[in-house]
Symmetry: C2
Subunit: 215 residues, 2 copies
DNA sequence: ATAGTATCCGAGCAATTGCTCACATGGAGG
DNA sequence: CCTCCATGTGAGCAATTGCTCGGATACTAT
């Protein structure tokens, strides 16, 4: 709670042990963040959990904020990578198949580290990392829009930008809330199918057929 | 950043000037919270903005957290009241009409104090108030579900609980994001209509007719 | 070995901040 | 005027915490 100047030039880890230190700091930050929240997570505690000294921590991260930002970056890149991969894999798939695959992928991604994701979404918008999250959201919208444009002939919405916007936020919110409040619903495919229906019925004119092969 | 014991019994405002003090403290908290965020908002600053001394603040609110919680309560009650009102007003309306009215009401409610709402949603889950927000969400789902049950004959989803869950979170997310990122889109009815379509096409079998009267 | 560098350590500084308490002030009733 | 209590005040305590710095230690190269 003391936003000091920290002009200190930071060191790049060169030896293997330094890499290990940085890694253990990041993982400790994750753990402490999940357990204590952003406020409860003080740098001394993080260093302790990581098994290093505060000094070491500040050799690689210029500030607590930067440390947390590094985690956010890691997480965003992971999520974006996953989405991009799925979009490119669905290059030739029908809208129905691609959407269902994508929704399941999102659920899966959220289920990996639900607590961490929750902290990211709920507690970190207040630091500068908010830009990063918003940027991720923008990239997600771009990906979806590109995808929609390929299928534009079949789509009902005329404004694809708005459609991408709605789809991205609706799916993200539904997925996020489901992981936290209905973790049991992840087993059977009902949740995934309903989210897919939400998207597909919005996008397509006419009715939407049930999935061909049941999960 | 010092979560002390605060055993102090708090005083109930009895005279008019005390009421005024409490009010000015609440409004100041709002302002400071919006401007500085939860962390930047220290009690000394809030008291200063309110034009009272810290001592007075702590005579009516046992802790910073309690102070913020009081604001959250106020806000939640306001939102819930608005939703309940719209649901009861739509008692006899068709699903289409009721949904469109409801979506517009949500957009309107969010547009009233967008910055405050944003702080509430983004920065306050970490304090105990999270329970309150979650509780509000649960009540919203209950309201929507009751409404859906009245129209169940026309609905496609079999699991109305899941449907309420998805609708509530999707609409909230879309509305919230739109207020913050697409404030211009609130003028014409395109945004409202698209959110309504998202909901209606998910809920109803078959196609959804455009609104009878434009706007 | 020796030098040079990368890494690590952790006591403690400086700043912040939630909150208290001893006291001042306002107003109503007598 | 005096009493009583509700209300208001603000200097400052106590605790927390982000971060630094002087120096120890591990590793590499020669």
């Amino acid at each position: 709670m003391v936003a000091r100047a920290r002009l200190h030039p930071r060191r790049q880890p060169m030896q293997a042990r330094a890499q290990a230190t940085v890694e253990s700091i990041l993982r400790a930050t994750e753990r402490v963040l999940v357990k204590e929240g952003y406020d409860g997570a003080n740098t001394n505690r993080i260093a302790e959990v990581a098994g290093v000294s505060v000094g070491s921590l500040y050799q690689y991260f210029p500030s607590k904020e930067a440390l947390v930002m590094a985690l956010v970056d890691e997480h965003c890149d992971q999520m974006l990578g996953l989405m991009a991969q799925h979009v490119s894999e669905s290059q030739d798939a029908s809208l129905e198949v691609a959407t269902r695959a994508f929704v399941r992928a999102m659920l899966h991604a959220h289920a990996l580290q639900p607590e961490l994701h929750r902290v990211m979404v709920e507690q970190l918008p207040r630091i500068q990392g908010f830009d990063k999250v918003r940027q991720m959201s923008a990239m997600a919208q771009a990906l979806v829009m590109e995808f929609l444009q390929r299928h534009r002939a079949r789509l009902r919405p005329a404004n694809l930008e708005l459609a991408s916007f709605l789809v991205v936020y609706a799916v993200e919110a539904a997925t996020h809330a489901a992981i936290l409040e209905k973790p049991h619903a992840l087993q059977d495919g009902e949740l995934a199918e309903e989210i897919s229906q939400l998207v597909l019925r919005y996008l397509l004119a006419g009715d939407v057929a049930p999935p061909e092969s049941v999960q």
